[in-house]
Amino acid sequence: MSKYLVRRVLQLIVVSFVISVLAFLLVHLLPGDPSTIILGPNNTAANRATLLEQLGLNDPLWQQYLTWLGAVFHGNLGTSYLNHESVTHILATGAPVDLELIIISQTIAFSVAVPLALLVSRRPNRPLDNVATTSTFGMLALPPFVVAPILVAIFAVGLGWFPATGYVPFTQNPATNIHDMILPSVAITAGSIAVYFRLLRSDLISTLQQDFITMARSKGLSGRRIMWRHAFRPSSFSLLAAAGINIGALIAGTFVVELLFAIPGIGYSLVLAVNQRDYLVVQGIALVVAIAYVTIQFIIDFIFTIVDPRVVRE
């Protein structure tokens, strides 16, 4: 077990390191540099040279990388060249926002997908199944930038149940915070519902065909008990795995929703930083996001090992 842990931690370190290098290279090789945006109308050759020198951007790339890495090990992720906010602060304020978005949206997704799948998998291809399948495909076909304005038009401007934009920190007012996050969360949920539903349905149908189910039934177990204990448990593995990939994609993938709902998350900060060549911010966020992703995968894998000790292989 500890060997397993060591391996995963090692994996975490390697992946994080490689990603930090990639992010660094990618953003530094983009044409232009922060001086254009910072200097604005004061952009002269002399000013630019001075500014780049001040920011340490004249050093060779490998040196800049090592300087940054060194700072990271001291817990210093640097600051934005533009508004001088510390990257740590950007992450500290933005991460909870995205975390909440992900939690709420995945909760909604699971709450809808799981019962629905359980419901329809017993009678595949019947009307209920067809309706459910059709609607989930409908959701898949509508990306967040379409769903968001529709939701706002109906529920915010139309009915007035929710605000159109804005974010209230949880610590300030938990109820308002969650209430205001509902529309943004629903906007990113659609795809997840479809995937989870399809996955689980598929797995359940196949599991239910198997003989041990017939066996259980012949033993007199009730339908619900069968569904839950014997069918759902094994089918949930792939669901969990998909959730892992999905959540990973959502981290820093919430940019569109953050933009439209004016929510200060790290997705928005990340894209802003790339476009403004705010190198340290990009590198810092990319690193932390990668670590978060690997950690989540790790947790999910861990759940797998708890459920089935044989999974711990490698």
């Binding site: 038009a153 198997q210 795995a241 894209v271 999910i300 044989r310 999974v311």
Partner: protein, 319 residues
Amino acid sequence: MPDDRELLDTGASAQLLGDRFPGMAAMDEHVVAMQSEKLDSDDVLLKRPFGFLFWFALVWIAIVFLAAIFANLLPLQNPNFQNYSALSQGPSSAHLLGTDDLGRDLLARLIFGARVSLIVGFFGVGIGLIVGGTAGLISGYKGGRLDVALNAGSFIILAFPAIVAVIAIVTFWGQSLVHITIILGVATIPLMFRVIRASSLSFAQRDFVVAAKTMGATDTRIVLREIFPNVIPVTVTFSLITVAGIIVIEGTLAFLGLSVNLPTPSWGNLINEGTANNALSTDPYIMLWPAMSMFLLLWSINLIGDRLRQRFDIREGLL
């Protein structure tokens, strides 16, 4: 990622349960063995004629593909021609689906847009399959160092914030259909890799493979003749859903200005144009046609996939 058999092979779930219900182990083995073979006779539950929906879906897919391929030959208006005296008009005899905010015929844009979306979707997934799928197939079977390395590699690609990569690549490389297809294709490589690898891995440990090995079959032969055919169902299903995903993601790229050059239509940027500038409230039909077409296509593809799988293979596989 749980890399082992349990990820995608639901036959394994039966095995797992076997451990929890002593006495069922023997039953288990039988079940698993059965599942390795194709047993049409057991598929009593699901063996039925294809049904109306199936044919409807097939026809729709055919229409979309044919229209996209032969768009130039169809009596369509120029999809890019802006008619400033016919802005944002609803469906009429002159424009069957209406016009958009720049006075362009929506029917023409829809059909030409299908081209872009289909190319991006299918070729993109094609790239993922060829590169990621092959790698996964081999890697799942062979294991060892190659497997560990490729696995870590796929992990790295998945953990990197995609949006940064796309912005960077499009900035370097410019917008174009080819570029977008390649970028999205490359993005699917790790997904294909993981899915097919897991499936390949699960089959690699099956008795029939072990048997083939002991009989002296080469690795190539085993991969091609034993594993590959069994991996196909899962691959097909997952690929189809990925096609859906890519076509939709292209829309988000259009929203961010990272997709094909204006004024080229694609379903993704048609939807984007139909949502922008409050068009959703004033002229909702602009967004409606591409969204419905996309929805019908996704639904059709997956329905066909479903039915084919049910018909020809007991195991539903993952999706």
